[in-house]
Symmetry: C2
Subunit: 350 residues, 2 copies
């Protein structure tokens, strides 16, 4: 089997295509991270940004959860603010993302220029290329490789707010006070994101996930005005290249009607959406990913098994279903519970 044929036969991609699968594919958002001692060992020697910017390190930490959990998909270790450097934005992690030169006015936005996206993010493409090689060397069932980016609204929220606050009000206020300027920023972020994701696909990503983590703070009308059109543009570009796409929004229950219109191959939902209701509301041609509450991994292993099975039961044997959490795994999660979650899915439909 060629490498391409091997990747394309991964359970993850087969599920997205709606092919009949023996069980749902499973992976965990933020699966490379601080709940793993082996990640902390790398982190003790290198800063977060160093790991992101050094392909060997990014590949190593991306492979750790594959080795430990044997999940069906790897996701490249990186951060959604990395491509913002192509707008001249300086980002630090302390440990959460901090923007050193946040956007404060319409004039700040006018002054931005998109420059050398592929060049400025080339370490990500390099890491993906190496990760692809490493994944293909692994024995056993083929693993999918997921690339990712932040959706324009969420990217804008970080650039405007400097660091994540409780609510991202400043961005919504800018939307009221200077809607044209915000649209210009979102447009530029869309351009960057398209080029950035295509470079990831060129390097070997099988699918791309767009994280619109903070869009759940928007009303449906505001989402339709300030987030959906940009997400649609990115997904249309990916679709023309035949790249499967996933859309994640935290707190998305009121936004499902718009998410269905986004053009995403798969909608990744959080734990506050009823999975069985989502299965009814989302057309069968669109996949669903999720949605166990990350705090459910703090119970006994028996409780983790029970809750995981309840999730699978709610997914009703849907062909296009990918098991995952409803948000990133929390850093203090007991690692054995993460393993129990994955193994319970791998045991097949209840």
């Amino acid at each position: 089997m060629t490498d391409l044929a091997k990747a394309s036969s991964s359970l993850f991609l087969r599920s997205i295509r709606g092919e009949s699968c023996e069980r749902p594919p499973v992976w965990i958002m933020r699966q490379a991270g601080r709940y793993l001692a082996e990640y902390n060992a790398v982190k003790a020697k290198h800063s977060f940004l160093e790991i992101c910017r050094t392909p060997e390190l990014a590949v190593e930490v991306s492979l750790q959860p594959i080795r430990f959990l044997d999940v069906d998909a790897a996701i490249i270790f990186s951060d959604i603010l990395i491509p913002a450097t192509a707008l001249g934005i300086q980002v630090d992690f302390a440990p959460g993302p901090v923007v050193l030169n946040p956007i404060r006015s319409a004039a700040d936005i006018q002054a931005l220029k998109v420059e050398d996206v592929t060049q400025k993010t080339k370490f990500v493409a390099q890491a993906i290329s190496s990760l692809r090689t490493e994944l293909d060397k692994l024995p056993g069932a083929p693993k999918a490789l997921v690339g990712f980016a932040g959706a324009p609204w969420t990217m804008a929220s970080y650039l405007i707010e400097q660091k994540p606050f409780k609510h991202f009000e400043r961005t919504q206020i800018l939307a009221r006070e200077h809607p044209q300027a915000l649209h210009l920023l979102l447009d530029q972020l869309t351009t960057i994101t398209e080029e950035y994701l295509l470079s990831q696909v060129e390097a070997g990503a099988d699918a791309v996930q767009l994280f619109d983590t903070w869009a759940g703070l928007l009303s449906l009308e505001d989402y339709q005005q300030f987030a959906l059109p940009y997400t649609q543009r990115i997904f249309a570009t990916m679709k023309r290249r035949g790249v499967p796409t996933l859309l994640y929004i935290n707190g998305c229950s009121s936004l499902l009607p718009a998410m269905i219109q986004s053009g995403a191959s798969v909608l990744s939902i959080d734990w506050r959406v009823s999975l069985s209701e989502a299965c009814e509301r989302i057309p069968i041609e669109i996949g669903i990913q999720g949605n166990l509450d990350p705090t459910a991994l703090y119970g006994t292993s028996e409780e983790v098994r029970t809750q995981t099975k309840q999730m699978l039961t709610a997914a009703q044997g849907r062909a296009r279903y990918i098991a995952n959490l409803g948000h990133g795994i929390l850093q203090t999660t007991p690692r054995e519970n993460a393993l129990t979650f994955v193994k319970t899915v791998q045991d097949g439909w209840p």
Copy 2:
């Protein structure tokens, strides 16, 4: 007209009772606050806690938005963490709430004792009593007086997390690891809240609102297990005393089915719930309050008027409808826009 008859004929209470009203009543959550220069003048001389603990100051700042906005209801100026002192919890504001001795373990919860709720919060009852007198002296249509408390889940979240984080994961983790201990804490908070709210009613509050601000982070199942039973107990106690109740949850769209079961007279919804959909889903015997996005008050006055009218149109002339924002007013809100919001409602149904 006696004072009691005067208050009971307020537009706010008539609307809750479902009586035909010439227009919807209107007030604004957090209407006494930093967007008002007159509030900042008081705040320059006194700390937040001093204002809460000194009846004359609490009454003064509670009256400021009545004078400026002429809203139909006053809410006593206070903080949801005030009654936690009856559990021996020490709270400071810097400026957000900070718990000095946060709950860290099941043993911490076992050690708590409910003591002297009415005594320890008597300055709140005193303020309500004076505010009642002041409101009744005002010329014009009678004003309702709203008392309030934090719902047990949200109170517990603050006590466990020390200060408000992005997500209140610790409380949910405690729910998984030590559910019995958390239930004990929630039970004690319920007892405190009942006594605290009754003392407010005795002092002259016409209705009470329970703020379960953080319950929107819970799945429907977790809400039903850890929040709903306690909220129901409080509302049942209020109902036996004939006190109208309002329930506010931020990000409540997935929780509506449970909120309907809470026993609240009025459900206060946020801007991410479609108001027209809420009008269809919530039985007509239950009132609806809300739900303009607080950031909508940053547009031009024309936009504020348009958005307020759209909200009123969505409320479909419902008898039991109270106009409000979907969350507390933001501290940088242009005060003229707050006034435009109120005046647009006072102009009547569009």
